[in-house]
């Protein structure tokens, strides 16, 4: 018990951020209509590509004078992260564009 309290105190800022972010995430999308399920999922998917920042930091400080596993895997992480980010946002936009197109049209031939 004492150890748990100790951990809570040591990491209180992190725990606050987790707790509040979970609440925020639930609040923000709680009443999403089912039309938007796919775009919301794929947009959120693109946001999880935020891991790219980790990839940039890793590769940014890697030793480039020789080819190391760290460098190769770091570059791979950046490529994968960007794929997730770019692909995710573009595909979401493509879907939403379709929804939009119809809204203006309203009627069909």
């Amino acid at each position: 018990m004492e150890q748990l309290l100790q951990y809570f105190f040591l990491y209180k800022e992190e725990i606050f951020i987790i707790a509040l972010s979970v609440f925020l995430g639930i609040e923000v999308i709680a009443h999403v209509p089912s039309v938007l399920h796919t775009p919301l999922m794929s947009g959120a998917n693109a946001i999880s590509g935020v891991i790219i920042i980790g990839g940039i930091i890793l590769t940014g400080h890697a030793d480039t004078t020789r080819i190391s596993m760290e460098l190769i895997l770091g570059i791979l992480a950046v490529i994968f992260g960007t794929l997730n980010v770019a692909g995710g946002f573009v595909v979401t936009d493509r879907m939403l564009e379709m929804f939009k197109k119809k809204k203006q049209g309203g009627h069909h031939e």
Partner: protein, 480 residues
């Protein structure tokens, strides 16, 4: 940018570092606001731009301003390497996202999710040697980033393969125990590494073993999951990728990563819960996979044969109706019949028939699949009606046309408590005055659940590929 502003807990910090942190705050706010806008139809597209803007901001400032513990920024060579990697990823991502057919959307979303999981896995793997082994919290976030990222990666790849038809379902009762064992081993190894005393060098082999176990678990946990459960699994994997990114965020003490990751984790969890509710099943039930058993004994019995309709009968029935409801399912996507379907509904509308679509939340292979599919064919948004709204209108519906859907209209969910889908909310097609079913073959639906709707007196079947059947039907309606 390199002038020292002051000291924080004894360590000097520069204005560049302060600006970097500020940019992360702005990026995080953009994520939240973007997600908020994304959940309303009118603002969704703008929301996507906001989230993307936040991401570009975070990436740019990291590249320009990040300093390591020794206070060194990112060297120019590294900047070029990173920019090249980013350009490569962007071009591939952009091309895939733009060029792939809309009907392949579930696969594509899974594929992008896999890349996110892979990135988290790699980052955590590379950061493990820098973890403070005497600090369990530091080790824990690294391990969680690695394991969750790996599961999301391999799981999403399998989901991609299954959605693309490259991988079939593998169902074996023992798989349940294998998965449980893998999960135990993974958690056990993580607990072992959390005990202070080891060094990153002595623990290296355990890390690779852990990585292998997590990858294998991801494969085996998605493998037995059937097509109808795919929406649940896809949202779950999506949420896992977010959590993995958040864990990696703790490694760097980066609040934008933590907040972004947790937001996605929470959003994915909500979708997962929604999908489970739409099937009246628990998440555990989906993962362990109870479908396929049990119900077989409950049904059977009657053995009445479904009655077939001719195309001209169907055409006359539809043309002289006042209210028609179309229930699309995965079969519509497989046959890529969405355009033909819209052509039919437009043709009927021109004859004064009121045509609407009834959308079940888990119809298809991902959340919202039918909405995306029909939107691609330009079916107006106002014609798509959610299950709960359309059900009360069913008794006044002259014809309900079921295209490639099965379980979501199966009355056994209401009438047969022993059925595997008992209690699942369904579209009450059986209440309509006439029922037309377009079905590829005479076989049973997913997991062989008998559907008594097909043998209902009001039901007429149209067998064959949905697209061809629709095209012939359109011809018949036109010739009337």
């Amino acid at each position: 940018m390199n002038n020292v502003l002051g000291t924080f807990e004894g360590i000097p910090y520069t204005s560049g570092e302060a600006i970097l942190e500020l940019s992360y705050l702005i990026a995080a706010l953009f994520f939240v606001y973007g997600l908020k806008l994304l959940s309303h139809p009118e603002t969704a597209r703008r929301g996507n731009f906001f989230a993307a803007g936040g991401m570009i901001l975070g990436m740019t400032t990291t590249l320009l301003l990040h300093q390591n513990a020794e206070g060194q920024g990112i060297a120019l060579t590294n900047v070029w390497i990173i920019l090249t990697a980013i350009a490569t990823g962007s071009v591939i991502g952009w091309v895939l996202a733009r060029k792939i057919k809309m009907t392949a959307m579930p696969q594509l979303v899974s594929f992008f999710n896999a890349t996110g999981g892979a990135a988290s896995m790699l980052v955590a793997l590379l950061e493990f040697p820098n973890a403070d082994m005497d600090n369990p919290a530091s080790v824990l976030v690294t391990l969680l980033g690695l394991v969750i990222g790996a599961i999301a990666f391999s799981g999403s790849l399998i989901a991609y393969g299954k959605l693309d038809g490259k991988i079939g379902d593998i169902r074996a009762p023992f798989l349940k125990y294998v998965n449980l064992l893998l999960l135990f081993l993974t958690v056990g190894l993580m607990a072992y590494l959390l005990v202070p005393g080891g060094t990153p060098e002595t623990s290296a082999w355990i890390i690779y073993l852990l990585l292998a176990l997590a990858l294998l678990y991801g494969v085996l946990f998605v493998m037995p999951i059937g097509g109808a459960d795919m929406p649940v699994v896809i949202s779950l994997l999506n949420s896992l990728t977010g959590i993995a990114a958040a864990m990696a965020g703790f490694i760097y003490d980066n609040q934008a990563m933590v907040l972004g990751g947790i937001l996605v984790g929470a959003a994915g969890t909500i979708l997962t819960v929604l999908m489970c509710k739409a099937m009246n099943r628990s998440l555990l039930n989906v993962i362990v996979g109870a479908f396929g058993g049990g119900g077989a004994a409950a049904s059977g019995g009657e053995g009445a044969e479904p009655k077939e309709a001719t195309l001209s009968d169907a055409a006359i029935l539809l043309s002289y109706s006042r209210n028609v409801v179309i229930v699309p399912g995965y079969g519509l996507a497989v046959a890529q019949a969405q355009h033909a379907c819209h052509e039919l509904d437009a043709l009927l509308a021109a004859k004064g028939v009121n045509v609407r679509y009834a959308i079940h939340p888990v119809a298809g292979r991902m959340p919202g699949h039918m909405n995306v599919l029909l939107a691609e064919a330009d079916v107006p948004y106002s014609q798509l009606v959610e299950m709960d709204t359309i059900n009360p209108d069913m008794p006044n519906t002259d014809v309900v046309v079921i295209i490639g859907a099965n379980d979501v209209v199966n009355p056994a969910a209401i009438t047969d408590p022993g059925s595997p889908i008992a209690g699942m909310p369904i579209i009450r097609a059986f209440e309509a005055k006439n029922i037309l079913v377009m079905k590829r073959g005479r076989g049973k639906g997913y997991a062989g659940i008998e559907n008594e709707l097909f043998t209902n007196d009001k039901t007429r079947m149209l067998y064959g590929n949905a697209k061809e059947t629709l095209q012939k039907l359109i011809g018949e309606v036109k010739s009337l």
